[in-house]
């Protein structure tokens, strides 16, 4: 044996002896984490992930206000068009003083990190117009906050739009506002100019979609969940002028609209399905959801019940008024923490008008200083059927989602009817990995490697259910 062979052998032995155990739910967790982070990137609203076209932004010449839209022909799919090019569109396009005033407005940012602040001479008003309840404008300019160094590597950059030459910002003001009354109404950021954009606010229920002239714009108010838990969407046409649709979503006001989608078609091919940017702040909205606790709830306390707030957010996610949904906490309780913070998991069920049930599990870490970190640990849609108390749920939660330095602390939570007395943990071959006694139908345990399903058994050994850990609902599939 050569010395190189010795080293290879030792490294192999070392790797096999010290490697962490496999996480059977890693793929699902990564998908959920990706969606969660993408929601955060979208802006101030925690919107459901959009179908993002992964394309490198096409540079655009910003100075030519009368320039024709640039077109390119990708290998497949609809023709790529710079949807932000061309002269200013909208009902205020002829108001030169207003447009010049808007162009001069400061770009203010939200949150942390660099915010694009394009030189004024690179700015251009793409669209400006009166909408029900106000006056909006979309301005673009040179992106001055493009990532540098490693972050500029497209292979590693998680927000490819940030690499674009172009940044954009929506402005909004009251009806009849002059330019000085207009304020920044979205997050300034890099933008893929070939991707149609849209903006809405919760207050007026208005949405503006900017596409290319000749494009077809449609919108959908919410996902429709049937009794068998299948999901579809009804698409409504939106009239356009020069490729821009200004439409009223109606049905109440003041609420975020994460259930809304817009769709743009070009030559019969789908260009994009996405969520509009929004200025609605989830934390500020009125919470009027009522929640039932199936296994006993906490003592009432002053202030907004965090579970009720979460239920409210679920109603927005579903695009339904809170009183159209029956909310119930199936189970909530402590789980092992990765550190000194208190760790809790809760499972919220929303019974929809069709009878189907949307389930959402959340994990929270609470520190003594009052700060709370939360993460989703699963969601599901189930068909109408047995009462919630007669169903079995299995959650696999890792607290917290690793952010670079902190190892996660996985927990298995089994919630079953009280008649179930034992949980038998099985791998993909049906081999038993272990078992845990259930107390009132519930157990919190470690997640064994290879876990695929959980059987719950009655006292006489009868198998009551076999349940896989909860995955994640993708509303845009």
């Amino acid at each position: 044996m050569t010395t190189e062979a010795d080293l290879r052998e030792q490294l192999t032995r070392l790797a096999e002896a010290t490697a962490p155990r496999e996480d059977p739910f890693l793929a699902g967790r990564i998908a959920a984490l990706s969606r969660s982070r993408r929601r955060r990137r979208i802006g101030l609203t925690a919107l459901v992930a959009s179908v993002a076209a992964v394309v490198i932004a096409v540079p655009v010449v910003l100075s030519g206000s009368g320039a024709e839209p640039s077109r390119s022909a990708p290998a497949d799919g609809p023709t790529a068009v710079d949807v932000l090019a061309g002269p200013t569109r909208g009902s205020l396009a002829g108001d030169a003083a207003f447009l010049e005033g808007v162009r001069q407005l400061p770009w203010v940012g939200y949150g942390s990190g660099p915010v694009p602040d394009p030189p004024v001479d690179t700015r251009r008003v793409v669209w400006a117009g009166d909408v029900p309840g106000g006056r909006w404008a979309l301005v673009v300019g040179d992106n001055t906050a493009r990532p540098v160094g490693e972050e500029a590597d497209p292979e590693r950059q998680t927000d490819l739009d940030a690499l674009s030459d172009v940044a954009m910002l929506w402005f909004a003001g009251p009806p009849g506002a002059d330019a000085t009354q207009m304020g920044a109404a979205s997050v300034a950021h890099g933008v893929d100019v070939t991707r149609p954009v849209a903006f809405t606010t919760g207050t007026e229920g208005v949405m503006v979609v900017i596409a290319a002239p000749g494009d077809t714009v449609e919108f959908s108010r919410r996902p429709d969940v049937a009794a068998d838990a299948t999901v579809s969407r009804a698409w409504e046409p939106a009239g356009t002028t020069d490729g821009v649709a200004v439409l009223s979503l109606g049905e109440g006001s003041g609420e975020p609209r994460p259930a809304v989608r817009y769709r743009v078609l070009r030559d019969g091919a789908e260009v994009v399905v996405s969520v509009p940017e929004s200025f609605s702040a989830w934390g500020d909205a009125v919470v009027d959801a009522e929640v039932e606790w199936l296994r006993g709830g906490p003592e009432p306390s002053p202030g907004v019940d965090p579970v009720a707030r979460r239920a409210q957010q679920v109603s927005w996610l579903l695009g339904l008024p809170a009183d159209a949904v029956r909310f119930a906490v199936v189970w909530a309780g402590p789980v092992p923490s990765p550190d000194e913070r208190r760790a809790e998991v809760s499972l919220l069920a929303a019974t929809l008008p069709s009878g189907a049930v949307y389930l959402q599990a959340d994990a929270m870490l609470s520190a003594q200083d009052g700060s709370v970190a939360g993460a989703g640990c699963g969601s599901a849609l189930q068909a109408a059927g047995p009462p919630l108390a007669e169903r079995t749920f299995v959650l696999s939660c890792s607290l917290p989602f690793a952010e670079g330095g902190t190892p996660g602390r996985p927990s298995l939570v089994v919630v079953a009817p009280p008649s179930a007395t034992t949980a038998r943990l099985l791998d993909a071959d049906g081999e038993e990995l272990g078992s845990s006694p259930l107390r009132d139908g519930v157990v919190v345990a470690d997640v064994p490697a290879g876990l695929t399903t959980v059987q719950t058994l009655a006292a006489d050994g009868t198998v009551l259910a076999e349940t896989a850990p909860m995955g994640n609902v993708d509303w845009d599939e």
């Binding site: 050569t2 010395t3 190189e4 010795d6 490294l11 010290t18 793929a27 967790r29 292979e155 599939e477």
Partner: protein, 172 residues
């Protein structure tokens, strides 16, 4: 992402996770960091999955992200927190098995990240210098240099009677 892409990604994770974890634990010397590193690399891979899978080399891609992420993490840690380069390896009571070669493990952890990556990629992953250079984002000669220096440092602690040698053609 389309359903078939999701399934493809799930299959890929299922197939590759054990190997990625083994590579990551050698790179990091720590189980927790190895898990985080694999998750980070797969998260990046997931975001570009349709394009990566269409290109037909997802394993090479995720390995490259794994290595460059590790090097990036270590660089940031060393510049911002002044940590020493020897990370404690948390014991896993459930594992029960003793470390088969603590001396090698300690020696690896003591190597700078690029040097450690070069040694691991060459002598664990069995990559050529050119392949290792692609993964690390550097030149083949840089890999050669890092490997040679890494082996020199390992000599003092390896349990072999003679030190491993770099093939002559790779030293040029």
């Amino acid at each position: 992402m389309r359903a078939d892409d999701e399934r493809g990604f799930e299959d890929f994770v299922s197939d590759e996770q054990p190997a990625l974890l083994r590579l990551a634990v050698l790179l990091t010397g720590d189980r927790g960091h190895a898990e985080d590193l694999v998750q980070t690399a797969l998260l990046t891979t997931y975001r570009h999955w349709p394009r990566i899978s269409a290109a037909g080399r997802p394993t090479a891609y995720v390995r490259r992200v794994l290595v460059t992420s590790h090097i990036g993490w270590r660089r940031r840690l060393m510049t911002t927190e002044q940590v020493v380069d020897t990370l404690p390896d948390r014991a896993d009571p459930a594992a029960g098995a003793p470390d088969p070669d603590e001396a090698l493990s300690a020696a690896l952890r003591a190597l700078p990240p690029r040097m450690r990556a070069a040694v691991v990629l060459r002598f664990y992953a069995d990559l050529t210098e050119r392949q290792a250079a692609e993964v690390m984002g550097c030149s083949a000669s840089a890999v050669n240099t890092q490997t040679t220096r890494g082996l020199a440092r390992l000599r003092a602690v390896l349990a072999t009677p003679a030190s491993p040698s770099v093939p002559a053609e790779e030293l040029s």
